[in-house]
Amino acid sequence: MTRSGALRYGAAGLLVVVLAVLPFVHRSVGGLLPGPINSPGSLQVLALMLVAAAAAITLDLMFGYTGLMSFGHSLYVGFGCYATVILSNNPKLGFALGVPLAMVLSVVVALVGNAAALRLTGIGFIMATLAMAQGFAIAVERGFLGSGGEVGVTFARGVLPDPLRGVLNTRNVYWLALALVVVVYVICALLVRTHVGHVWQGIRENPLRTKVIGYNVYAYQMAAATISCTLAAMCGVVFAIVMGGANPGIAGLHYSLAVVLMVVLGGRGVLWGAALGAVLYQFLNLRLPSLSSSDIVTGLPEILQIPLSQPNFLLGVAFILIILFMPGGLASIFTRLTRRATSKRAGEPRDDDGGVPATTREPNLVS
């Protein structure tokens, strides 16, 4: 390994250690979190941020690296989440069997769903994933298969193991979410460095060419999408534990879009960027409602109060600004600092060739 490589591994390891000891840090961070860092409220927010990060990383694998723009990630996260709760609530299965069974079913759903969606390319793929996710969302909202409709389902009493239940055990839940991120990140980071990972990036740039030099594009796309969606379902399992249940909020178009926004916000094609974007998005999403009902905002003149009291307003504005002024997402700030002109990272827009910058070509909407 090169020096800079060792440095990066070192930094990443350090970050994980720091995150792991947060539940022992009794410090306030000035209103950013609902209380001291180790309070259950703060840890809950942090855990949700970590789960979002993991979900965004999985999407980045298929979207950022393979060029498969999915608007249906909510299907897989949602399925993992609902399957975990519903199966675990079945007294014959319980949590210990419910979770593995949910994962097995998720793999099947990922295989079937992607096998169908990948028959289409470009915008067709976007719409197919969107439609399948929408179908799932309708099913969930109508309460099919005991999904509880609008209200959702919670783990029945006594189903969740004690260490994962109750406010005081939020720190265990937090560690679980941290482990999820680490596992998902490591898997994805290793994958994109393999031969297969390079082929994925080739497919992102030019699927036709990839085919003609001897790669089975469909098989490679299937691999990327299935791995991504299975890992997404795993995020759903952890989400169920963090939330103590499942609700339709995770199954709809809104959530699918949110994951896409997270990835773009952070910088697609950069795994840690996607994670960063997710952390930021989820943080704003969870904390802005408190901010907007805080005295600072309610004390403002009404004209300012209106937009500020709507979290989606601020999120949307932040998102638009990133797209307009930081095409590589948040990650590009760092890459720009560390890499010079010879940077191999695609994504720097070229304004001169009247065409489309390399990474933004994919998915080619005009298939």
């Binding site: 031969h195 990036q201 992102r204 030019n206 060419r209 790669y215």
Partner: protein, 261 residues
């Protein structure tokens, strides 16, 4: 107009052949009963007016386009209708008339993907890509051969038009195919690079015994390299034979060459 001479069967095994190939798109007859055999190790050039169907023939022979009727054989095996990646793995490589590259990836990565395509298996693919892979080495060599080896880290999108043509060529070389289809490899290559590239193609053909089919409008390049020339017109192969015979053909002269500049 002279009838096309029967496509004589050459000694040695036939590497690539199209039999009675027809291609009809939207009611337009684009390839008309084209039959062509390319012997192993042979260099066949295809010429013909614009729109004669040369690129379409290359597309059919490389199975990128399925023919409406007729068969394509590679090393005696019927490959009609197979997916392009399968055929590429059995040793068929091609370039595109309009450069078709991985624009957002580096030159080395473009060549590397080509070099790795042949023996890639999803099963064995989950190993890390290393800087000193044999595959990477092959990719570097190919870049060196076409004269793009100096800055392999540049993005393909940064290349000028002519450089992109060279990268196309490097990719098919890196691929290590034993049957190569080249579609206008010299279009846009600067005058003083042409001799070198011609030399390169000749060397690859001779030394590595590659079967080569080339479509090209530069007659001196064609005459320099080809062992046999096929002439296409209105979708049909109207003549095929040794260069001097073809060059003497009246139809070729009037329909294709026109008056020399």
């Amino acid at each position: 107009m002279t009838a096309a001479p029967a496509n004589e069967v050459l000694p040695g095994s036939v590497a690539l052949s199209g039999r009675a190939v027809n291609l009809v798109i939207d009611g337009h007859h684009i390839l008309v009963d084209v039959s062509v055999d390319v012997a192993a190790g042979e260099f066949l050039a295809i010429i013909g007016p614009n729109g004669a169907g040369k690129t379409s023939l290359i597309n059919v022979l490389s199975v990128a386009t399925p023919p409406t009727s007729g068969k394509v054989h590679l090393h005696g095996r019927d490959v009609t209708g197979l997916p392009p990646h399968r055929v590429a793995r059995s040793g068929l490589g091609r370039t595109f008339q309009t450069s078709n590259l991985f624009l957002g990836r580096s030159l080395l990565e473009n060549a590397r993907l080509a070099a790795n395509g042949r023996d890639s298996r999803l099963r064995t693919g989950f190993r890390r890509v290393l800087k000193d892979d044999p595959v990477t080495e092959r990719a570097r060599e190919a870049l060196d051969l076409v004269g793009l080896g100096r800055r392999p880290d540049r993005l393909a999108s940064e290349l000028s038009h002519g450089e992109r043509r060279k990268l196309e060529l490097a990719m098919v070389l890196a691929q290590g195919a034993n049957v190569i289809l080249l579609d206008e490899p010299m279009a846009g290559v600067s005058v003083d690079d042409v001799p070198e590239l011609v030399e390169l193609i000749r060397r690859v053909h001779r030394e590595q015994g590659k079967t080569t089919v080339m479509v090209e409008h530069h007659m001196h390049v064609v005459l320099d390299l080809a062992e046999r020339i096929g002439v296409m017109h209105h979708g049909a192969m109207i003549a095929i034979g040794p260069p001097d015979e073809i060059i003497a053909n009246d139809v070729v002269q009037t329909a294709y060459m026109g008056e020399p500049l």
